[in-house]
C-alpha cells in the first residue's frame, strides 16, 4: 500500500486584506553536513551543485534549480526548486562525498513551506516574531532561524528592495495550521 502524499493546508492559497498565504508543498529538500574547512568537501559540493556553498551565516545562494541555505557553520539545507533534479543530485552526493566526514539526509517530509506575499508582510510578521526583521533580513540573500511565537521556523526573504514583500516560512508540518490561523487573525488589522 502506498501512502498518499498530501499538503497540510486544505486551501493551498488564501488571500486576506492584501496579504496572500500560500503553502508550497512537496519541495524536495536535502540536509547536508560537512566541514567548511575541508577543501575536498567544498570542491565536491561546488561541482555537484554548480554553485558555492554559502559560508557566511544567515545567507543563501540560489540558481534556477536549487536554493542552498546556511543553517549552521557545518550544515546546509538544499531546496530543490525543480523536483526532477532531486534524485540525480542526491545520488551524486552519496557517490562522491566522503561518508565518514559528511552526511546527506533527505528531509523533504520534515517541513513544509508557507509563502507570505503582500505589502504589509513585515508588519504582519512583527506581531508574532522577536526577530529584528529590518536589521537581520535586510536583503534577499538573507535567511534566519528563529521563533514565530513559540514555533521554531526558518524564514527566507525572497524580495529585493523594489519588489513586493515576500517571505518563505519553513515550519514543521504539524505547526502549519496553527501558523496559518495566527497569520489570518493578524491580517484583520489591514482592512482595505
Amino acid at each position: 500500500m502506498t501512502l498518499e502524499r498530501r499538503a497540510v493546508l486544505k486551501e493551498l492559497k488564501i488571500e486576506k486584506n492584501g496579504i496572500s498565504i500560500e503553502e508550497i508543498p512537496f519541495v524536495e529538500k536535502l540536509n547536508l553536513r560537512g566541514s567548511p574547512k575541508d577543501k575536498n568537501f567544498l570542491t565536491d559540493v561546488g561541482t555537484i551543485l554548480e554553485t558555492l556553498l554559502p559560508i557566511d551565516p544567515n545567507t543563501k545562494v540560489e540558481n534556477t534549480d536549487f536554493q542552498v541555505i546556511w543553517l549552521s557553520p557545518n550544515e546546509w539545507l538544499i531546496n530543490f526548486l525543480k523536483n526532477d533534479k532531486f534524485n540525480i543530485t542526491h545520488q551524486k552526493f552519496i557517490n562522491q562525498l566522503n561518508p565518514e566526514k559528511t552526511s546527506v539526509t533527505d528531509v523533504s517530509e520534515n517541513k513544509t513551506i508557507i509563502r507570505l506575499v503582500g505589502d504589509k508582510s513585515i508588519e504582519l510578521l512583527r506581531k508574532f516574531m522577536i526577530l529584528d526583521i529590518d536589521k537581520i533580513l535586510k536583503d534577499n540573500s538573507k535567511v534566519a532561524q528563529t521563533i514565530f511565537v513559540k514555533i521554531p521556523i526558518l524564514i527566507i526573504r525572497n524580495h529585493s528592495q523594489d519588489q513586493k514583500q515576500s517571505f518563505d516560512l519553513h515550519i514543521n508540518r504539524s505547526h502549519a495550521n496553527y501558523l496559518k490561523e495566527l497569520l489570518l487573525d493578524g491580517c484583520n488589522q489591514f482592512i482595505n
Binding site: P57, N58, S72, P73, I130, A144, Q145, T146, I147, P152
Partner: protein, 115 residues
C-alpha cells in the same frame, strides 16, 4: 530580556537561547578512582557566583551551536562571548557590582564554595 551576541548569527533575543550552566568544568580523568562525594561534587556542585560567571549557552532556535558567555549574574550584563574550547578572557574584576557588598557566593551561603 537579554540581547545575546551569538558568535555565528549575531545579536539575537534571549528567548532563542538556552543556558547550559557553568562553563569550564572538566570531567575527571579517573572516574573509577573517585569517591562518591568527589563524583557528586563534579556532577552537581556549582559555584553559583553572584558577579562574573562563565557560562555555556546554546543558540537552540538558531544555529544550534554552543558557545561561552561571561555574564555578571548580579546585573545580567554580558561582558564577553567566546567560542567553545577557548580559554576564558581575563576580565578586570570578578567582584559583584552590588551596592551593599554581598559575598561572592550566592545569598551568603558558603556551603557550596569550592575549597
Amino acid at each position: 530580556m537579554l540581547l545575546i551576541n551569538c558568535p555565528y548569527c549575531g545579536e539575537r533575543e534571549q528567548e532563542e537561547f538556552s543556558c547550559g550552566g557553568e562553563a569550564h568544568i572538566e570531567r575527571p580523568k579517573n572516574p573509577p578512582e573517585l569517591s562518591d562525594d568527589q563524583w557528586a561534587d563534579y556532577l552537581f556542585l556549582r559555584q553559583n557566583i553572584k558577579g562574573l560567571q562563565f557560562e555555556r549557552w546554546n543558540h537552540s532556535f538558531g544555529c544550534r551551536q554552543w558557545f561561552n558567555v561571561a555574564r555578571n549574574t548580579a546585573t545580567d550584563e554580558i561582558l564577553a562571548v567566546y567560542h567553545m574550547g577557548e580559554k576564558p578572557p581575563k576580565l578586570e574584576s570578578n567582584d559583584p557590582i552590588t551596592p551593599c557588598g554581598e559575598p561572592k557566593i550566592g545569598s551568603g551561603n558558603f556551603s557550596t564554595s569550592k575549597k
